[in-house]
Amino acid sequence: MTSLPARQGWRGWLTDPNPRSRRQARLGQAWLAWLRIRRNGLAMLGLAIVGLLLLTALLAPLIAPHDPVVQDLSRRLQPPGTPGFLLGTDDFGRDILSRIIWGSRVTLYIIALVAVTAPVLGLMIGTVSGYFGGWVDAVLMRLTDIFMAFPRLILALALVAVLGPGIFNAVLAIALTAWPPYARVARAETLTVRNSDYIAAVRLQGASHLRIIAGHIVPMCLPSVIIRVTLDMAGVILIAAGLGFLGLGVQPPMPEWGQMISAGRKFLFEQWWIPTMPGLAIFLVSLGFNLLGDGLRDVLDPRSAPK
């Protein structure tokens, strides 16, 4: 019988069921999505891990206790817990914790670059292919098949071998091998919506192909692509680590997690912490992205959204 008390302040403004402007409506929607993801404990854990990675990368010069590149052979191979060297030192006497902290920047750089290139490319190719159909579809999908048929790491290796080792080339190689799954996902989604009445309606209003694809089809593909991106991020970190491990990614002495494992593998049995600590960092960040991806699936997938 009692009506809910009207919420005050900015929360009330955000949750107002009758927003008065486009901006308010949009912010309100974002707020509701945030409330949904906040109820998912594991997703929040994932978000916390990703947030921690961001903070670490941002504040690396402030929180790293030592210089990540300066060598000190008098203090080499110190075990974890040595005063001043929480996670121990490597074979050149460099603090592993500091190297992991600085290495987070490289990891983040790779993730960010791959995340803005591969899905965008895949989305473009997939939606165009699904929307136009016919020979456009045939050509683009066969191209996708060809890229998909290559083992990812081998193709990345070949590209790096041609372009030369380095972090940017590694990213390029990963992006070029990572887009086909996004194209597939986007095409499948496009096929389910392209003959729907709402697309026919906007076509009847005289919309251009570009407007239909960008404004009406891409929003329908976006949730599944975003979810795939977060789920793939773990794989991207591992491939970047793999390239680093093979010496084709980041070049020493720049700290990078995969390359740290690679350099530390000859000490695996006597000084286990050298490859283990960066391995744990990779594990943690991969886990964080996976959990976040799972949570995002619940929030973004329209089929699972509460009515």
Partner: protein, 251 residues
């Protein structure tokens, strides 16, 4: 002069050596501000005629004139002819707000004043302005169909093609939407070409009706013929008898 003039229209779908003649040699003519019905059972080709006018179906013979001129192309066409689809659950973009759905046609044609026009359009179809930023899944079927009608009218077309606009709605909502359409037609001087399988709906809405069967025109009836059951052909009569009891109810 006739607003819509269709002469000898045939539509043939071809795929892999297979031919389906959906519409064969149909002629009809709709005067300006008239409401014209197409009635027939499923697969009789009535919706295909609407799709042919919109350029969504392959015309194999015949011609379609709008306002005495051949079908205008592209954007000029959308300023003249708009369509309301059958299923309001499928005809609104699920991830666009009502505001976006209604302002899109204005954006496509570069028309100014979208804020005021959207509010006005909602008012015209009897929806409160509070609905503006809702998503389709927050609306009922009848409300969605009102939005679809508002969208079709955003570009102020002269002709509205109605593809069974109320068959997905239940009876009471159906009457509301039909009355809304009648009111809008009177207010704006619209020409309706309406498809339905329900003679009761046609009787409520249309001045004349063309009965179709298997892609061919069977008989054209004026409203008075329909009311007094003056049909020439057996098929039209059987169709009439199937919905006669409901026709009587609405009287």
């Amino acid at each position: 002069m006739a607003m819509i003039d269709i002469q000898g229209l045939s539509v043939t779908f071809r795929s892999k050596g297979h031919e389906v003649r959906a519409v064969e040699d149909v002629s009809l003519s709709v005067a300006a501000q008239e409401s014209y019905g197409l009635v027939g059972e499923s697969g009789s080709g009535k919706s295909t005629i609407l799709r042919a006018i919109c350029g969504l179906a392959p015309v194999s013979a015949g011609r379609i004139l709008i306002d005495g001129k051949p079908l205008p192309q592209g954007r000029a066409f959308s300023r003249q002819v708009q369509m309301v689809f059958q299923d309001p659950y499928a005809s609104l973009h699920p991830r666009h707000t009502i505001d976006r759905t209604l302002s899109e046609p204005l954006a496509i044609h570069g028309l100014p004043g979208s804020d005021a026009k959207v509010v006005q359009a909602l008012q015209d179809v009897g929806l409160p302005p509070a609905f503006r930023f809702r998503y389709p899944h927050q609306l009922s079927g009848g409300q969605r169909q009102r939005v679809a009608i508002a969208r079709a009218l955003m570009l102020e077309p002269k002709i509205l093609l109605l593809d069974e606009p109320t068959s997905a709605l239940d009876a009471s909502v159906q009457a509301e939407v039909l009355n809304l359409l009648n009111r809008l037609r009177a207010e704006r001087g619209l020409t309706f070409l309406m498809v339905s399988h329900d003679l009761a709906v046609i009787d409520h809405m249309c001045d004349r009706v063309l009965v179709m069967q298997h892609g061919r025109a069977v008989e054209e009836l004026a409203r008075a013929d329909l009311a007094n059951a003056r049909m020439q052909t057996g098929y039209a009569r059987s169709l009439f008898e199937a919905s006669a009891d409901r026709l009587m109810e609405t009287k």
